[in-house]
Subunit: 455 residues, 2 copies
């Protein structure tokens, strides 16, 4: 790594032009939830990769197309990079300082929808490759890319796509789409993601709402049916009551617990950001909270909708009611098991009238936190950040890493430039230019170390 | 009653002019929920009564003013008539055939907001008085009127108003604001009304919503707290679980059951109008349904509101959740008891975080179905309708009759021209002119019989 000073200088020199490229990429709305601008954005991704000498194909997935690219390098080792070109809807627009698709630099940050999640993570990586190619004329190893357009709506087609193209995507390791520095400015490496099973539960008890004075004693009430069905799923003890549901849950290992215990106390920031006064089940111990946050399966009511919700009173008996429920899955739970067990439970409890509409499902996936590739990614951060990345066995959120880990058989590491105020999914999403540059410099070191590694 | 033919003819002759007067009354919006046009509408009521020689006062109530009027008659007996000049909001406007405050006659019906509930019931009664005065120059007995402006928002101030003015409102009997003919064209006389206790239950667990991937395992969730609190109120057996709540419930008497058993089978119309497939607790016996419909206390969820309710999924953990809940009360339950017991129950079940906001409360009230005044009202219907009114001990809805029965000590009878498709509270509210005229003719007979009665 004798020439990393030269590559770092190239990265600094090329930054302005690279940010202009990112701004053009951000200026193309690509909102998967609204199927807006997907093909046009995929074309931008393809052309950016082609400009770096990648062999690029834009392939159908069943949803928005995925861009797959490959360029060989000095070593035969292959690093697969996963990114996505779709973004969250920008609403509420009135809370943006500047329009979301007209990115602007202010005070060392670039603002715009997708600058952090996830368009900037693609271009920061291109910046690293540009600097390496400008300095050396070749990459240290083979780099493959898969850039999908459905991450923000649950990567519905990605697992099947990965399975279908497993030879084309074959690699020795995978770099994930995102990464974070925490409030201490410590870069974190997440070794796993929880899965998700997201459903809408709905009940219809009649063709039309009734007057509560007429039907209250004798008509079935959809809001009551839904309430009772929900209450059967989880009680105030917070334990999920679906029979068999917890059977496949793997408790965190001693090593997992030790890694979680090394994380800072999250309680003050939870209190400050969310105004949470107490934690579930009276938890106070920061270590216990850190473990519970990511190693426990959840059943979260995300929304309730029935009858009259306006000001004052309306004496109505609702014919329809629905709830959105988010189940976070931990290894080795699967969305398929969750659906089967939920249906069986509702039927057994007398709620066969409660309809399940599946709105999202992703299996959890984790890489051994002690895998050599993760150690490599963590270690190569040190010259850039002044410290190695801190390895965290699991993050509370979800993503399609399961297919990469289990179909392709690769270790997956996160690295990136997210930060506590990055506002992904929210108005004024932003990236810090200093962190962006650090990520590019880190990637240059990852590639060299990976090319030279024995694994 | 030798001159009832003459009075009937006068009623027929005066109908057109009377309907024009009703149309002017309907044209003045008087929406209590929006505090719109209340004073102006009270002034119209006062001037209509003054035009009939009533001594009229418009009195403060704490809400919209109440109009109180009195005119003496040949006998010293006093009939008090209760009406209200406020109407329901007209929304949704697009479902009206003609604008709600521009009443129109079509096919023997008058359409407009309030034509049935309750402005037409006032003017049909004025029509009867006009015909009597034109024929005889005097009323058969003293008639008093109280016309309030808050019935559609729970008659919040009426009980205290009746108590405060009990001497001025003193009477021997009371005619209620409404009445119905059922689908068989049988006029029904309701001897009682259930009470109501309507609340909003709300929970706030944090200052702001959180990402479900972050907080699902460790943050309290307002939607779950609300769900569990609701489930503690009533289970799938439909029995209200609040300790002490049912202690004051009086079971219907043998006589009540016999009267309810005489009502027609309601199941076909419930299936047709509401699309209800089954009734609660597997009830199939029409007699049982008729009794349960009005003699059982209810706990009805009217609305549920929490978190995300739009299309698709949003991974949010709600900080706030609320429900509207309507408790119908039967004798001798009271809203005050209901509130006290509900609070105690929620506290005892660990839900002291659930806030109760009272949005309405009226005690139930009933007159003995065998009271002589009710028999008189029922009997005098026969020459007009070809049959006496059918006496029904209780109706499922609510109203402020408790104060009249218990403060003034008067029997209360319903009579009026509502019909199964009258659409009170809904678009295209209407009255049938033929029924309207019958009600006026019936009132003329009620007044004569009442003036001559011994009670």
């Amino acid at each position: 790594m004798t020439d990393h000073d030269a590559i770092d200088r190239r990265i600094d020199d090329m930054l302005d032009e690279n940010i202009q490229e990112l701004c053009r990429y951000v200026a193309q709305p690509s909102i998967a939830a609204q199927n807006r601008g997907m093909e046009a954005c995929a074309a931008i991704v393809a052309s950016m990769l082609e400009a770096r000498g990648f062999a690029v194909e834009t392939l159908p997935t069943g949803g928005p197309p995925a861009v797959v690219a490959e360029r060989s390098g000095r070593s035969d080792k292959t690093l697969l990079i996963y990114n996505h070109y779709d973004v969250q809807p920008p609403e509420p627009l009135e809370l943006w300082t500047d329009p979301p698709f007209e990115p602007k630099v202010r005070d060392g940050h670039l603002y715009g929808r997708g600058v952090s999640d996830d368009k900037g993570h693609l271009t920061a990586r291109l910046l690293a490759l540009d600097a390496i190619l400008a300095t050396r004329g070749e990459l240290p190893c083979r780099v493959k890319w898969v850039v999908e357009g459905e991450e923000e709506v649950g990567s519905v087609h990605l697992p099947a796509f990965v399975k279908q193209h497993r030879d084309r995507l074959a690699a020795d390791a995978c770099l994930w789409e995102f990464g974070y520095l925490d409030h201490r400015e410590v870069p974190l490496l997440f070794a796993g993601l929880r899965g998700i099973f997201y459903v809408e539960l709905s009940v219809e008890t009649a063709a039309t709402d009734a007057h509560s004075g007429i039907g209250g004693s004798i008509f079935p009430n959809a809001a009551w049916r839904l309430t009772w069905a929900l209450a059967s799923l989880k009680g105030p003890d917070e334990r999920i009551r679906i029979p068999g549901y917890l059977d496949s849950v793997k408790a965190p290992s001693t090593r997992d617990r030790a890694l979680m215990a090394a994380l800072p106390d999250p309680t003050a920031s939870f209190r400050e950001i969310y105004g949470v006064k107490e934690f579930l089940r009276g938890m106070r111990d920061p270590k216990e909270l850190n473990v519970a946050q990511v190693f426990e399966p959840t059943c979260t009511i995300c929304g309730l909708d029935a009858g009259y919700q306006g000001e004052g009173s309306k004496t109505v008996l609702p014919a329809r009611a629905s709830a959105k429920v988010d189940f976070r899955l931990v290894p080795d739970q699967t969305p398929e098991d969750a659906e089967r067990l939920l249906r069986a439970h509702l039927d057994a409890e007398g709620f066969s009238d409660v309809r399940i509409r599946v709105l999202g499902g992703e299996a959890p996936g984790r890489t051994d936190p002690d895998h050599p590739f993760l150690a490599l990614v963590a270690r190569t951060a040190e010259p850039v950040y002044g410290m190695p990345m801190q390895i965290v066995p699991m993050i509370g959120g979800s993503g399609p890493n399961h297919a990469f880990i289990h179909e392709l058989g690769v270790p997956v590491a996160t690295a990136g430039f997210g930060h506590p105020d990055t506002r992904a999914h929210a108005p004024d999403e932003n990236l810090r230019l200093a962190y962006y540059v650090q990520h590019a410099k880190h990637l240059a070191r990852i590639l060299d170390a990976f090319a030279a590694s024995g694994a």
